[in-house]
Amino acid sequence: MEFDSHLPIYMQIMHVIKNRIVSGQLRGGDKLPSVRDLAKEFKVNPNTIQRCYQELERENLVFTQRGLGTFVTEDLEAIKTLKTKMAHELTQNFIEQMKKLGFAPQEIIKIISDRINRRHDDE
């Protein structure tokens, strides 16, 4: 994986794991890969993964059981909240970028709705 040079790597990996949780690739109660395995997957220092798991734990998205490993939270509400939060972030980013390109709110809405409808027809 190519990392963005502006952000600490542990944050970028946190983001990938959040994506896996929200998309259902990792489900509530699932065991996360061991620190070493994930370090190999991303080719990063094991302590970077350790930090990433600690931060995810602080956000109550994962929990650690001594000797057993790290697991995705079983609190489905928390996952739902995360999903909404990530959607807001993505949308906010998109809107800001579109505004920078000079689009007015109504135009942005039209572009999105046209796009979604076109997708719908394709399927």
């Binding site: 990392f3 040079s5 600490p8 542990y10 070493r36 080719k43 220092n45």
Partner: protein, 235 residues
């Protein structure tokens, strides 16, 4: 935290030229530290002092609380930047050599590393490609249960597949009770596995720190910081 390496005011002079100039550095257990710098910055001199191949002019060096000597040589596993095996050998002979030399050489670990690197123990040394040679040397060095691993340019001149295998082997071998010191020019390929970096210029540390913190502070990857720090050298 337990310190594996403690270097205090280290100076090494070759006649009047200072290869290391009043350098101080500490490495905690469980850290992978990158020593970054162009040719002639003092990396090799530093490694040679840590491995006991050279003596310092001034200053003190402790590895696992001991001055460099017989004990420290038994707990330091060193990957030189050139080949150190005889051409007539097969891989298994190289393993035997290490077993004879180092009591902490773990044959089981060596066999696992060879399997991981897809090397066969009956292969002859002089038939190995550069990448295979590098993988063999690293397997030998990592198969020791050492406290300090010193890897001098571990991925120099190997193809991307071999490079990934080498990085995986390094991550696999990571242990919280031992440390690794890695020198490299290939900052881009290595920076993500380094927890701390030390920029060495003309025998002095010009910048050092936690890689994630440096990246966040400067808003750049270590490779770009490296280019910035050493740009004047290239001109």
């Amino acid at each position: 935290m337990n310190k594996i390496v403690e270097i205090k005011n280290l100076t090494k002079k070759y006649f009047t030229k200072k290869a290391l100039d009043n350098l101080s550095l500490e490495i905690d257990a469980g850290k992978i530290v990158g020593i970054l710098g162009p040719n002639g910055s003092g990396k090799t001199t530093l490694i040679k002092i840590l491995t006991g191949l050279l003596r310092q002019t001034e200053g003190e060096v402790f590895i696992d609380k001991h001055k460099v000597g017989v004990y420290t040589k038994s707990i330091v596993s060193y990957l030189p930047d050139r080949n150190f095996l005889y051409k007539w050998m097969r891989i298994e002979d190289a393993g035997q050599l290490f077993k004879d030399f180092y009591p902490d050489f773990d044959e089981q670990k060596f066999a696992e590393l060879l399997a991981f690197m897809k090397l066969e123990k009956n292969m002859k040394i002089d038939t190995l490609s550069k990448g295979m040679m590098e993988k063999l040397n690293l397997s030998l060095v990592l198969a020791r249960n050492a406290k300090l691993y010193i890897l001098d340019e571990p991925i120099a001149g190997v193809d991307p597949v071999a490079r990934d295998q080498i990085l995986d082997a390094i991550i696999n071998n990571y242990h919280e009770n031992s440390s690794m010191l890695i020198t490299t020019h290939l900052v881009r390929d290595m920076e993500n596995i380094l927890e701390e970096v030390v920029f060495l210029k003309e025998g002095k540390i010009v910048l050092t720190g936690d890689t994630e913190t440096l990246r966040a502070e400067k808003g750049k990857q270590i490779d770009d910081i490296y280019k910035e720090v050493f740009a004047s050298e290239e001109e």
